[in-house]
Point group: C2
Chain length 414, copies 2
Amino acid sequence: MDAVIISVGMELVTGLTVDTNAAWLSSELAAVGVQAQRHVTIGDHGSALAEEVRRAAAENSWIVVTGGLGPTTDDISRQAVAEALGVELRVDPDALRQIRLFFETHGYRWSESNARQAAVPEGADLIPNKWGTAPGIHARIGQSEVFCLPGVPREMKAMFQAAVLPQIAPSQVGPVLMCRSLRCFGAGESTIGEQIADLMKPGGEVVVGTTAQEGMISIRLVARARTPALACGLLDARSAVIKDRLGGLVFGEEDVSLEAVVGRLLLGRASTVTTAESCTGGLLAKRLTDVPGSSGYFQRGFVTYANEAKVGVLGVEAQIIQDHGAVSAEAAAAMASGARRSAGAGYALSATGVAGPGGGSESKPVGLVYIALASSDGCEARDCRFGQHLPRAEIRDRACSVALDMLRRKLLEV
Amino acid sequence: MDAVIISVGMELVTGLTVDTNAAWLSSELAAVGVQAQRHVTIGDHGSALAEEVRRAAAENSWIVVTGGLGPTTDDISRQAVAEALGVELRVDPDALRQIRLFFETHGYRWSESNARQAAVPEGADLIPNKWGTAPGIHARIGQSEVFCLPGVPREMKAMFQAAVLPQIAPSQVGPVLMCRSLRCFGAGESTIGEQIADLMKPGGEVVVGTTAQEGMISIRLVARARTPALACGLLDARSAVIKDRLGGLVFGEEDVSLEAVVGRLLLGRASTVTTAESCTGGLLAKRLTDVPGSSGYFQRGFVTYANEAKVGVLGVEAQIIQDHGAVSAEAAAAMASGARRSAGAGYALSATGVAGPGGGSESKPVGLVYIALASSDGCEARDCRFGQHLPRAEIRDRACSVALDMLRRKLLEV
């Protein structure tokens, strides 16, 4: 049986909020061999939700609905599922007790509107929620089963793993579907696509595709086989061929980040890194410390946004900034060397550039960033031109990715 | 006419990538009075896309399709739209010239697979793409119109604004739909919902709803009226009532961030801020410098992850860390005071805590973060307990939000 994922919320369909639940649910379902055929997002309209539930039920699907279980009057999922089932809502005394208990144990203030969350369609089961106030709903409709979960990602995920997945996983009898993705950095999508074009032809046992996002290219592999072991074997074989062709461009698998790869390499070499940031303004240190355990190789970092800070904090010679400007290979190199010296670290990464949208000139346009890496071998600097059309956030993020990739390649010597 | 937004991509429906295009398109459409009824996400299956296009066309909609126009063989949108229209694909010589020109002017390497992007269904128009390689497609199907755009957000957005919106906006003759959102920080969703419960009743001229995300509560208002001026007037009046009731909880409108609000306040007072970060590891500086022009009030920041860095860089007395631990109100206060002194800034924010997932103890559990604000009035510190169930990224992000909100309230004296 395939799955249909329905996200409910005016904030989603009007675009105020980006839905991340559907993607997460798809990954979880794929891991147990259930393929999401469709994500649908609708507003807080009970009749639209009832229609989508009926359409998915006619396709004999697992149906996962998120959102619309909150305490306010715009939360319509309970009523809509009752409508799709053709039954009435009743207040469940167990649910009411659970919700009151949650409020008491967390010291939250009880308000009568929270009682609304204890209503359940006749004949449906409750899905307990230990992580928030709204219990979920589980009902059977024809050959299909529908699970309603809260929209808050943290609660939804915990409830899905605790109560929904154990019901879906054992009933899968069809072929197993397994996904893998290889993460690449350092070349464009069509360049990479061309090197593996023969593997991307449709119809094989493993479907291979590429996606570009913020300078990273993901190569996704989807294998179908009779057993998990067979599917895994297909993915292993195909991954090995791709990695062999692309060499140092592939930095990891699944959702591993460049910073996590760099962290593992530093730990393995018992070395440390520090940061000296101008245009990236702390993002490089933030990305390094996104990784749990990063205190093992990152002890301090410097955000030197102003020129006086580069001189005062990092010991960059004022003459260098005067001669070459703060946005220059010379300044980047002096920042990295100064930070490495000051922090007593094995490696130092620096970034200085024009992140925009203002501040660009003809010789130093928006998107120009100098990145340097200092190590015991000395200091190497490079310039990146990210294109003036890119937004500030993307220029900053790509500059950090280039810096992290420089360190990765240095550590791997590729 | 309403709209249906269809996102195409195996990476989306399998959950490898979160779709942000549909939300952005909905906001843009709402601004010209077109309401998105539904977002649908499907994989790289031509027949599924053709079916969704036909279903939306039967509802007389504007149909916007993103994705599936890339250079690789898994890109199926051109073929599927041709199927929905019942016509064949042809290679458009103009499109081929445009794509080749784009490659030449950007110095990209041409590969024959890129020629695939010049195919167009018979009778359909090309939508030029000056920002990337894949041109879009515009076709009429019954009373509906379908626009196919690339999936890369930057290209999609530029093309939508340049070529799609000008075709949709003038043909809207129905009532105008306008949205606004008020951003709140410092109380839970049900507390806020209760204070405005009477305004959230359905059926009024302005629909009011609430959403919680990462500790922020958004109150969204959707008004329908005959003219933009009338809709804007309704939103102004309703916003004023809500702001009056919620007071200092509301920090801004639309997608304004706490850091942007803090930045404007600092600029207005010609003051500056610095940062001393332990568990947030650069994220606070990153968020402050996310704002263009932040060099006007942020000159330097310190990431002092290790205890020696707190002592060496910020001048925190080693005795304080020995007596109270690095995760303590005393350490947070000493970090903020030290950073303010060292940077010569008007204000300093610090954060020290246990971001997890490891490193927690009974007395200092995961989620405990001390945040301090130093100013000419002295130093105030507070403890936050974000809950051990929250992921590392969310604990770090919320700690930064609390710090920024402390500074906002200090600057506003609320």
